[in-house]
């Protein structure tokens, strides 16, 4: 008769009480795992989205991220091509890298002057095939909402805009944007435009030059005005090949993607082309610390004179860290709440068991069981409760998560422009599983410790006298 078997039989002695205790543990563990799985899904989803768009690491000119995002001419990197080559040659970085690609971010005003509409935009000059390759990164097997940019293989003046931009520029019909009401003014010539602010004269003149070259009836053409490196205005006539939903409304309303060469021509003209960032996407996020250290060392040695810095995706996308911290605090609060409930439930169960079995404890001590043996017996009972509760809780959580994942429930997160499926990642999140189960067992042990110690410290004669 070993202690574990005795502990199991003692648990079965009062089945209803043991069942009630188990139920509290199962409900608690299920709630923790489901919320943790939901949190994991959100965070992994965000990470996947950010890594697909901005890579794991970016090399930028120092200060660009904080101060220079609207000033590419002041924060450009003329040696960006050499940086890319250095990364691709490096024996440590090269095997970790999936994509190393340059980007040029610029701000400007996009106008559909035939419709009398314009709006400020944030544009990315990018290498389309490399950026589309980045969109395939999916280390966590998430449901990816990213659509490949329609720029790959498109003409040099092709651009992709957010659906919000398309709406503002009255391009709904030409780009077949759903749920978009196009005003009649969209077909009117710029001179007769009744809506929208009149464009400046110099812009109109530049526009007229570009417009003369475009075929009549091409209503998906826009002009983009930007400041060149020398500060002069420059206008490019562009063809919008697609309006894409980028997921977040704030981005959808301002985003414009164009070929890197087009963006460089707009900013630097015939001068030396530059980029505002070199994006590096790694195979796995876990490689980021090592890659970052190596990249920093590489820049320090090979580009010593350049004021460069390496930023990770968490810094580049503060929303990720903020969401992580918010979800972590909620998870911690819920886990604490459930932990306290389980703590007191098991503590109460064990305390009652000690009280009911006081004479039995005295008998065992009289027969020669040490204090440690009594403590061990009650701790074994608590551990068994914890183990059974964990296994059942885990099973229930997996069943409920399967149901949720197959229910098709969806919601639109704050700030997003389309609905996401509600999913919970329980089985795939090993740290969550192990942490929650170990946490539950730790709470069980902690809650049983005091009653078990009290049982062990009972005076034998007092215990035997207990009625």
């Amino acid at each position: 008769m070993n202690t574990w078997l005795l502990a199991l039989r003692n648990l079965l002695r009062n089945r209803r009480r043991s069942l009630a205790t188990l139920l509290a543990m199962v409900v608690g563990l299920t709630a923790i795992l489901l919320f943790g799985g939901y949190r994991s899904n959100i965070l992994y989803g965000m990470e996947t989205g950010f890594v697909q768009q901005s890579g794991h690491l970016q090399v930028q000119r120092r200060g660009y991220f904080l101060d220079g995002s609207d000033n590419p001419s002041a924060y450009g990197m003329p040696r960006y091509r050499e940086i890319i080559d250095a990364i691709q040659r490096d024996p440590v970085l090269a095997p970790m890298a999936v994509v190393v690609t340059p980007t040029l971010q610029l701000g400007g005003i996009a106008g559909n002057y035939s419709a009398g509409a314009s709006r400020s935009v944030v544009a990315s000059g990018l290498v389309a095939n490399e950026r589309n390759h980045m969109l395939q990164w999916n280390d966590y097997d998430m449901i990816s909402y990213a659509q490949p940019l329609a720029l790959e293989g498109a003409a040099e003046d092709a651009v992709v805009v957010g659906t919000g931009v398309a709406r503002k520029l009255q391009l709904c019909a030409a780009l077949e944007v759903a749920n978009c009401r196009q005003t009649p003014a969209a077909d009117a010539p710029v001179e007769a435009a009744a809506t929208g602010s009149p464009a400046p004269d110099d812009v109109l003149a530049l526009s007229a030059l570009e417009k003369a070259q475009q075929p009549r009836g091409a209503y998906n053409r826009i002009e983009m005005l930007a400041a060149t490196a020398s500060g002069a205005p420059n206008v490019a006539s562009l063809t919008v090949v697609k309006a894409s939903n980028f997921g977040i409304k704030a981005i959808d309303d301002i985003y414009l993607a164009m070929h890197l060469a087009q963006a460089q021509k707009l900013i630097y003209g015939a001068g030396r082309p530059e980029a505002t960032a070199v994006i590096m996407q790694l195979r796995h996020t876990a490689q980021m610390p090592e890659a970052r250290a190596r990249l920093t060392a590489l820049l320090a040695s090979d580009f010593a004179g350049e004021p460069l810095e390496v930023l990770d995706f968490q810094t580049l996308n503060p929303m990720y860290r903020q969401t992580d911290e918010f979800m972590a605090s909620m998870f911690g609060f819920i886990a604490l709440l459930i932990g306290v409930i389980v703590l007191f439930t098991i503590g109460n169960t064990m305390g009652t068991a000690v009280m009911e079995r006081t004479v039995e404890i005295g008998t065992l001590r009289a027969m020669g069981v040490r204090r440690g043996g009594i403590r061990r017996l009650f701790m074994c009972e608590a551990l068994l409760l914890g183990a059974i509760g964990s296994v059942v809780g885990l099973t229930v959580a997996l069943m409920v998560s399967w149901f949720i994942n197959h229910s098709g429930w969806a919601w639109t997160p704050p700030g997003y422009s389309y609905a996401y499926l509600i999913l919970v990642r329980v089985w795939q999140d090993v740290p969550l599983l192990v942490g929650s189960v170990l946490g539950m067992i730790a709470v069980t042990v902690a809650s049983a410790w005091w009653p078990a110690s009290r049982a062990a410290k009972l005076q034998i004669v007092d215990a035997l006298r207990h009625a």
Partner: protein, 237 residues
Amino acid sequence: MHPVSLRKIAKVYHLDAVTVPALAEVSLDIRPGVFTVLSGPSGSGKTTLLNLIGCIDRPDEGEVIVADQAVQSMSDDALSDFRARHIGFVFQTFNLLPVLTAFENIEYPLVLAKMPAAARKKRVLELLDAVGLAERGDSRPGQLSGGQRQRVAIARALATAPKLVLADEPTANLDSQTGAAIIALMRKLQREHDASFVFSSHDPQVRAEADDVIFIRDGRIAGVEQRTAATQERAAS
């Protein structure tokens, strides 16, 4: 060698502000291999004395020597091990573990003594047979009568073949017929095992079976009666 020797034992209970002397100036020797009964009215100190002899309580003063060892200086763990090796207990309310079968209850002290499984099984079956419960080894205490439970308790007390077996009012919860049968069984086993049995009881049936009777009154030894076969027969009649 006496299995138990007590020298000038005193024990006081503190109940809130009240101090209750339970034993005072108690000195006695228990003879080896005999059936000793501690006799006296309720509250006289029988159970306290039995607890001290059984090493489950400590005296406030005096010396307790069991199996030639002074026990009051032992640590709690050492005392637990000592009890497991040298002393068997039979309780008034049997105190069997309800989740264990009769077999497992008897086996439990042998597990504590770390006896190998095969030897344990042999020993338990012998004891079940000795107490007349060879067919009830798989029964839980709840499935046994009072007399049967006390038989299991006796077998459990004898499992490790201790030289000292203590019983606190072992027949108090049994009817007279069953009580008599239990006493007869204990007497028989005491002789077979050559163990010293010490009982606390005011049951005349138990006293009649005793070799030695120690009379206790108001926490003191009021007298000791060591019986010969002839006096025993007279006491029994």
